[in-house]
Subunit: 279 residues, 2 copies
């Protein structure tokens, strides 16, 4: 693992690292924010942040304004990239498939299955590395935006023993029933819609016995709301299953990081309550 | 003036506009953040933010995390671009001269003098437009980063009747004596160093009778500190002139927006105190 940049931020440190990922079979970059409280004597819990289509580790760290509250609350934040990277990695000349669009699944279809295993990377390989290298505990929460909101919710729902809380901004909540999700799942997972259910928040909510506290924010002026995000279906499923998820509609907000920045404090405080209770 | 984007942010609005600048003789883009308090009945004061080399109106609005405090304090923020733009505008194939590097002066040398009049644009044309089009008062403060810190301090010092307070992050405080400044001033203003003094914070501090309250933050790990910024000279001049400027050295911080984001709240609170006293 090589440190490739660092910036002091709110008394802590933002750092970028590069490492060889065995799971993804390529070199990967990720970012970590370590709050001032983090030390070997006082390790801190970790919030994993999963970004959306076209993003890297940088978008959230540069634009969300999360470090202020992370420093105040004593939470580390880890932001992976959104797909495998490198010259040998399969790609498509579009923003919603291939590089920058890993969808946090393990691809089973050629040529994607060689590298596109973001699910295993986020669930297992990256946390193991983070917990080995940094002064952090094994108490974890997870959040994300859009494709990354889908990733955060599905990964937590499939691994309730690994996360104390989950949240999302503008998640692709029902990817089995929207253009982005149908394209990605057909391409990465094949045509069997039963398989897709294992990576669909709405479908997982219907069957899970676990109860992970969850917070979702969705802007009313989000240009992807009607076609891609499935928020109505998410709300109906939450109500039908009595799942402990608060879904908030935020009037006038769009799909951008201006929206995320406006409400990231609420998400960090929400996760902090659960992270501290689990310490 | 055409609105080209808008995003709801902390209950207010971030918007980008394009307009024909008579002073710069080209089309220009700028950004404005209007806090929720801004209305025709309750106009708000304005903080002008001047960005550094290579930046546009976007860097500060996306990365500084300023909207949260601007919304809380009821301050609008206006961020112009850093140079004239467009195909017909003179340029050099380098980051520290030409487009993205206007240095907030009125160029007198060919071919720059046709468009590079960022001083007049920031002092007169842009505020006149802003005060005509938005629900703001004529109470103004000014701040900036690096080249924009230079711009903010020199513009306020030359126009004390127009600004109630000034601040800067990592300003080029003594451009007459650093490589960035010597290149830009030679190119835009010519070889006469007496002329340069009119756009050099350290030189202006020595001669001004005005006393504009000022706050400057400078990171100790700033890679440009030794060669470009002149902070030692600034501190010595502030002490020798008993100028009301607080210069803070921030241990471990660099030249990036991670530094700005860490201390922007202090700057907004500093300006708010003076803006509100002047309402």
């Amino acid at each position: 693992m090589n440190k490739i940049s660092e910036n002091r931020s709110f008394g802590g440190w933002h750092r970028q690292y590069e490492h060889a990922s065995a799971v993804l079979d390529c070199r990967m970059r990720f970012a970590v924010y370590l709050p001032p409280q983090a030390s070997v004597e006082t390790p801190v819990p970790v919030l994993y942040w999963l970004s959306g289509l076209t993003c890297t580790d940088e978008n959230f760290m540069q634009k969300a304004g999360a470090q202020r509250m992370a420093a105040e609350l004593g939470i580390a934040i880890v932001a992976p990239d959104t797909s495998p990277r490198g010259d040998g990695v399969a790609d498509e000349d579009r923003y919603d498939l291939g590089k920058g669009a890993g969808f946090y699944v393990n691809a089973t279809e050629a040529p994607w299955s060689k590298h596109y295993r973001m699910y295993d990377y986020v669930v297992n390989e990256l946390p193991a590395l983070v917990e080995q290298e940094f002064p952090v505990t094994r108490v974890r929460a997870i959040s994300g935006h859009s494709m990354g909101g889908h990733g955060a919710l599905t990964i937590a729902l499939r691994n309730p023993e690994r996360y104390v809380s989950m949240s999302a901004f503008s998640p692709i909540a029902n990817p089995s029933n929207c253009p982005w999700g149908e394209l990605a799942f057909t391409t990465y997972l094949g045509a069997d819609r039963e398989v897709w259910k294992g990576h669909d928040t709405v479908e997982l909510l219907k069957t899970t016995a676990a109860r992970i506290p969850a917070l979702v924010d969705q802007g009313s002026a989000d240009s992807f709301l009607a076609e891609q995000l499935g928020t109505d279906t998410l709300e109906q499923t939450v109500a039908a299953t009595d799942y402990p998820m608060t879904v908030r509609r935020q009037d006038g907000y769009d799909h951008s990081y201006y929206f995320i920045a406006s409400f990231i404090e609420d998400h960090l405080r929400f996760h902090a309550d659960h992270l501290k209770a689990a310490q």
